[in-house]
């Protein structure tokens, strides 16, 4: 990979001191309540707002407590690359952690984890978009995680689907993302960063995480990913729980879009006024 030579990067050998800090071995929930006082099945409070980037065709911003994700959608516009003609549109997804968003500093370039996330995000959104409505064109989706406190992919899925709807891209349904952490016989919805599954702790079987993208009005799963070694029955239970939780998110998404539609129509009428002015003078 070519690196960006214009930016001054630190020496290659440096390591963040946090890497050597001993992590707390046990999940707090095993010894009582979750550390933020939630019960295992509750989501964190969500703040969702569409239309936050004025230059983009559509955009959205989501906060799940300390997880903050921003998404902007551009297009549909002409396919830039000289690709084969296709009757279907193309979606281009870029998922990026902001350099300061995680425990460790992220680099400016997309690393392999972020590339993997981009692919998963694309897989989650593609089934929801009417691709045949914009032949020969592409839609670009840029997702930036501003602060990562767990469940970033789930938040990104929700945020990106709202941004797509906000951009006026034809869709079959919205996609709500939800992730759970599986710890023995416990299933924790919407895990924070400290609750998330990390492979370096020596976890026995049935420790892992599942993320689901769910289309609430079609009752269809658009994306599913898991990490860690999990038994069949447990993962089944986790998927069901994810689906049900995503369903509860649906009214939140709808309300957010309803609110933004008002501002959208306002903007549209303003531009009409501007147009009239242009014609007059």
């Amino acid at each position: 990979m070519p690196t960006d030579s214009r930016r001054l990067t630190g020496p290659e050998e440096t390591k963040s001191p946090y890497a050597y800090v001993k992590q707390k071995k046990k999940l707090q929930v095993l010894t009582g309540k979750r550390h933020d006082g939630r019960s295992p099945e509750t989501l964190r409070p969500i703040f969702l707002k569409a239309d936050v980037v004025s230059q983009a065709r559509g955009s959205a911003y989501i906060e799940q407590d300390n997880t903050k994700v921003m998404c902007a959608v551009y297009g549909p516009r002409e396919v830039g690359r000289k690709e084969d003609f296709s009757m279907k549109g193309i979606i281009n997804c870029v998922f990026k952690y902001a350099t300061f968003s995680c425990r460790y500093r992220r680099s400016y370039q997309q690393d392999s984890e972020e590339k993997d996330m981009s692919v998963q995000l694309l897989d989650a959104l593609e089934p929801a978009v009417c691709m045949h409505k914009f032949p020969k064109a592409q839609v670009d989706i840029y997702v930036t995680v501003l602060q990562n406190d767990g469940s970033a992919l789930a938040a990104a899925i929700t945020c990106a689907s709202v941004a797509l709807a906000n951009a006026g891209v034809d869709m079959y349904d919205l996609v709500a993302g939800c992730s759970v952490r599986i710890a023995d016989n416990l299933v924790l919805v919407d895990p924070t960063e400290s609750e998330e599954y990390k492979s370096q702790d020596d976890n026995p079987v049935n420790h892992g995480s599942v993320t689901l993208g769910y289309m609430p009005s079609l009752y269809q799963v658009s994306a599913i990913t898991s990490k860690g070694e999990i038994e069949f029955e447990v993962i089944k239970k986790a998927i069901n729980l994810c689906g049900n939780t995503s369903q509860t998110l649906y009214p939140v998404l709808q309300k957010c879009l309803n609110n933004s539609r008002f501002s959208l129509s306002l903007r549209f009428s303003l531009s009409l006024v501007r147009y009239h002015f242009c014609v007059q003078f």
Partner: protein, 290 residues
């Protein structure tokens, strides 16, 4: 992805066949195609394997190198997957054309192997905090005939099973640590691959799902479920791919099939590898000169 062009009529033909549990090549929905595995094919690697699943041809070489462990896992070694899509498979892979597919496959492998029970990284530790083995698993995709994920995972498991790492003796002399790497080809350490996962891909064709989809069948599917399954039937990684969506109940069905198929696939692979191992040097190595 390497695609073949299919007309609507051909797609309908495949679709109806799958519905009746009879696929275009006569298989049932849960049958694999003919699979050939050969290990120790490349002499300058620590372990290697070649898998040929009908048309799909994959060569895996494992090289072990000594290095420093990463700070999060000080008492463990590392395993690195690198996939190279050779232009031999299709001219589309020329230059950097195969990179997207390559990262897809390697990310899935990372995820499937990323749990302590299915591949114990502690066996790669030489001196805690200082030296460990890094296993470079290099996957070369020579021909694409569908179902790349499964074939790759089989080849990777076979190559890791075949891998022998030279024994290292650590001596401490007045605070100076000295590493002595044995060059005796029989003084080696083998890897425990018993509980490592295989990847099983289930492609949704019409209302049913099939395992080991051929290229033509991959053309007819909109959604695939890719899962890493161990011999015990636990699921180490799960991923949905493709532009279609899936019903929750059909996901359950697919996972059930995947688990069943994955268990027997693991078993068959380990049996075949043990059989090959038993033959030892008597086996005539052929490689590509079949």
């Amino acid at each position: 992805m390497v695609d073949v062009q299919l007309s609507d009529a051909e797609k309908v033909f495949i679709l109806h066949g799958v519905q009746d549990n009879c696929r275009e090549d006569g298989r049932g929905c849960e049958d694999y195609r003919h699979l050939e595995i050969e290990t120790s094919v490349m002499s300058n690697t620590n372990g290697s394997a070649r898998v040929r699943l009908a048309n799909t041809d994959i060569l895996v070489g494992v090289k072990a190198e000594l290095g420093t462990p990463s700070p999060e896992k000080l008492n463990k070694g590392r395993i690195e997957f690198f996939v190279d899509c050779s232009a031999n498979a299709t001219p589309e892979f020329e230059g950097r054309g195969g990179e997207d597919l390559a990262t897809d496959i390697s990310n899935m492998l990372y995820r499937a192997y990323d749990c302590p029970n299915c591949f114990d990284l502690q066996q790669l530790c030489v001196i805690p905090d200082q030296q460990c083995w890094i296993l470079y698993v290099d996957i070369l995709l020579l021909e694409c005939g569908g179902n790349l994920f499964d074939a790759t995972s089989l080849a990777v498991k076979a190559a890791l099973f075949n891998t022998s790492i030279p024994t290292v003796t650590v001596t401490k002399d007045e605070g100076v640590v000295d590493l002595e790497i044995s060059d005796d080809p029989y003084d080696v350490q083998r890897l425990d691959m018993k509980s490592s996962p295989c990847i099983v891909t289930l492609s949704k064709v019409g209302h049913s799902h099939v395992v080991d989809a051929s290229q033509k069948e991959e053309c007819c599917t909109l959604a695939r479920l890719i899962m890493g399954v161990t011999e015990k039937g636990t699921i180490t990684a799960l991923k949905k791919e493709g532009s279609g969506s899936l019903d929750p109940t059909s996901i359950e069905d697919m996972m059930e099939t995947g688990r069943r198929v994955g268990e027997s696939l693991n078993k068959c692979l380990m049996d075949a590898l043990a059989e090959e191992e038993r033959q030892g040097t008597k086996k005539k190595s052929l490689g590509f000169l079949r």
